[in-house]
């Protein structure tokens, strides 16, 4: 009898890992060539089904099947095949060439082979399973090792400690997903006491993302020392990153420069989530547009400016927070983030948001992406009656009659006429004063003509402040719904409700406080350099 060679490859069945028509690789042996030969059997080859249902050894020569694999067996000189079947699945073949005596295989030969196959098949299946598990364990180990490398790279490039900024509370949180993403954040000391703020997210995960994150962080640090403006920093970083960015990868990034003494924040955005500011009047998003880093060279970026007033908080964050899902599949989402940021809170935005995220996702949540939060809270201004900030340019009172907001607007505009304010800023001032006065008349004083609305205009060399007070401070203020134009057009929101939104966008800052029944809203307009900025638009 021809010696049997080892033929231990699992035959392919059409299953999750074997697509229709995909070839299985079965070695065969012949008398001429005792080495196992590879034989591809397509999963849909009728020979597979035939062998699986065969009751014992099969004569290859007498088989009548349209089968490429059968042709290959014949070509290789195989005379007799004993299918190895385990639990109805073909897992291997014993292939025999012609007997050395050239006689046919006898009934005893076939019985012996059948018995051998019956015992070999389960043992072979066990061997195959052990090998598969070993392969899987090795793959898991390799992935874990790669993730550990990615974690090490990433954590090595995150700030080890946060800067101590007088008048500010800085907090940060970074929580990597199991499959480490490419999040990063940074705080960079700049000349003149300025602080660079960065939050970014690299597409992709694992070691490639971590490597790009490390490079981006270094490039941003270097660029921020060479050029002053956030837009220029992103432009330079983009040009430096583009040539070496791996295919299909890019970096979203928010870069801002904070002047801690004044609260002035200049920022530019390379396709990242919009920063969110908690103000007394609700959450405000800081918009600026620009393409992610590393996609195309010679990109330009919008640069915008805002003033973080006393008591206001800035939040920079990555996708991992807003794209988290609860057990029912609902996403945390931007509206929820804005709503949480819009609430007055005694805790920092970071602590509050993480607590809400944990409540939202539940304890069994497997984190889907890195979560990065960076928050800067400006200490609140002590509230004192009769406080002043600069020279009083005007102080007057109006009756709470709808329409009198126009008078407030004209009188404030007249009061600042000597300040040489650029025309666009003056337009914004007029609109903001009009809206704030209308709120005071219609909501604060409920249009009771006998109740006065007080207006005070103060200026110092850097900042113009307009304070508008009503007597509605003893009543709770209804939280304002953020206007959404599409919702209004679809009838889901009322057409009105634009006042606060306009004030937020027309001013550089807004603050409010209550002393007894007196409720005051302070509108802030930055004067220093505003003309240059407006004229460059």
């Amino acid at each position: 009898m021809t010696p049997l060679n080892k033929i231990f490859r699992r035959a392919a069945r059409q299953d999750a890992s074997t697509a229709e028509g995909q070839a299985a690789d079965l070695p065969i042996s012949t008398t001429e060539n005792a080495e196992a030969l590879s034989l591809d059997i397509a999963a849909n080859d009728p020979l597979v089904a035939y062998f699986e249902s065969a009751s014992g050894a099969v004569d290859v020569e007498t088989l009548e099947l349209e089968s490429p694999a059968l042709d290959a067996l014949r070509t290789a000189g195989v005379k007799l095949v004993v299918p190895l079947v385990s639990q109805g699945e073909l897992i291997g073949l014993l292939n025999l060439g012609p007997r050395l005596s050239d006689q046919e295989y006898s009934t005893d030969d076939r019985r012996l082979l059948d018995n051998l196959a019956a015992q070999a098949a389960p043992a072979l299946r066990v061997g195959q399973l052990v090998r598969e598990q070993e392969d899987q364990a090795r793959e898991r180990e390799r992935i874990e090792h790669e993730l550990e490398v990615a974690r090490l790279i990433q954590q090595n490039f995150l700030p080890r400690e946060l800067p101590d900024l007088p008048g500010w509370q800085v907090s940060a949180h970074y929580r990597p997903a199991r499959e480490v993403g490419g999040d990063f954040y940074d705080l960079i000391e700049l000349e003149g006491g300025l602080v660079g703020l960065v939050v970014g997210d690299v597409t992709d995960k694992g070691v490639p993302a971590a490597m790009v994150m490390a490079a981006t962080r270094s490039v941003l640090r270097a660029a921020s020392q060479r050029v002053a403006s956030p837009a220029a920093v992103l432009e330079l970083a983009n040009d430096l990153l583009c040539p070496d960015m791996p295919p299909k990868m890019f970096v979203t990034c928010l870069f801002a420069v904070l002047e801690p003494a004044s609260g002035v924040l200049r920022y530019a955005n390379a396709g990242h989530n919009l920063p969110c500011v908690r103000t007394a009047a609700g959450a405000v998003e800081l918009r600026a547009t620009g393409m992610p880093l590393g996609l195309m060279p010679e990109m330009t970026y919008d640069e915008k400016e805002a003033v973080l007033g006393p008591g206001e908080s800035l939040l920079l964050y990555s996708d991992g927070l807003v794209e988290a899902h609860d057990p029912g599949g609902e996403m945390f989402g931007f509206p929820r983030l804005r709503e949480l940021m819009g609430r007055a809170a005694s805790t920092s935005p970071v602590d509050g948001l993480l607590a809400e995220l944990d409540r939202f996702t539940g304890p069994a949540w497997e984190q889907e992406d890195d979560i990065t939060l960076l928050a800067l809270e400006r200490a609140p201004q002590p509230i004192a009656a009769g406080k002043t900030n600069g020279t009083v340019l005007a102080a007057f009172e109006l009756a709470s009659i709808p329409g009198n907001e126009r008078e407030a607007m004209e009188r404030v505009a007249a009061a600042v006429a000597g300040l040489d304010i650029a025309a666009p800023t003056l337009d914004r001032l007029r609109t903001a004063v009009s809206e704030a006065a209308m709120n005071a008349i219609e909501h604060g004083n409920e249009a009771s003509a006998e109740l006065p609305v007080a207006v005070q205009v103060l200026a110092d060399p850097d900042v113009l402040r307009v304070r508008i007070s009503d007597l509605g401070g003893d009543r709770p203020i209804e939280p304002a719904e953020r206007p959404d134009l599409e919702a209004k057009l679809e009838g889901l929101q009322k057409p009105r409700g634009w006042g606060l939104f306009l004030i937020e966008h027309m001013t550089d800052g807004m603050d409010s406080w209550t002393e007894g029944e007196r409720h005051t809203v302070e509108l802030t307009f930055r004067l220093r350099g505003e003309k240059d900025a407006d004229e460059s638009l």
């Binding site: 009198n404 126009r406 337009d427 057409p495």
Partner: protein, 111 residues
């Protein structure tokens, strides 16, 4: 007390009905604005162009009126255009996203 004054006149053209707005667009403009739109729409104009050249002041209530007009235009399948906007109100149209739904005609391009 300030009193506001607002008028809206409809001029029917070949391509669009032009609504010439004059005065302040605030709460007191509601009736005149809606009447002007209704008149323009009654002539089956597919495009209604709002001419803001003589508008000096729009407040948040005026923005709400324009949003209402925009919603009505959507229902009537009437396209709204705006011309003669100052830079300031163009900025407000952009931040409120009204500019995403109203075609703003640059100065000098009005026909």
């Amino acid at each position: 007390m300030q009193t506001s004054r607002f008028e809206a006149r409809v001029q029917l053209g070949h391509e669009a009905a032009v609504v010439e707005l004059e005065g302040d667009i605030d709460g007191s403009a509601e009736a005149a604005l809606e009447a002007a739109y209704a008149e323009a729409a009654s002539h089956e104009a597919r495009v209604v162009r709002l001419d803001f050249s003589d508008v000096a002041y729009i407040n948040s209530t005026g923005i709400a009126l324009l949003v209402g007009l925009l919603a009505q235009g959507r229902r009537d399948r009437v396209e709204l255009e705006a011309e003669g906007l100052s830079d300031h109100y163009r900025e407000i149209f952009e931040i409120t996203r009204i500019a995403d739904f109203v075609r703003i005609i640059p100065d000098g391009n009005a026909s």
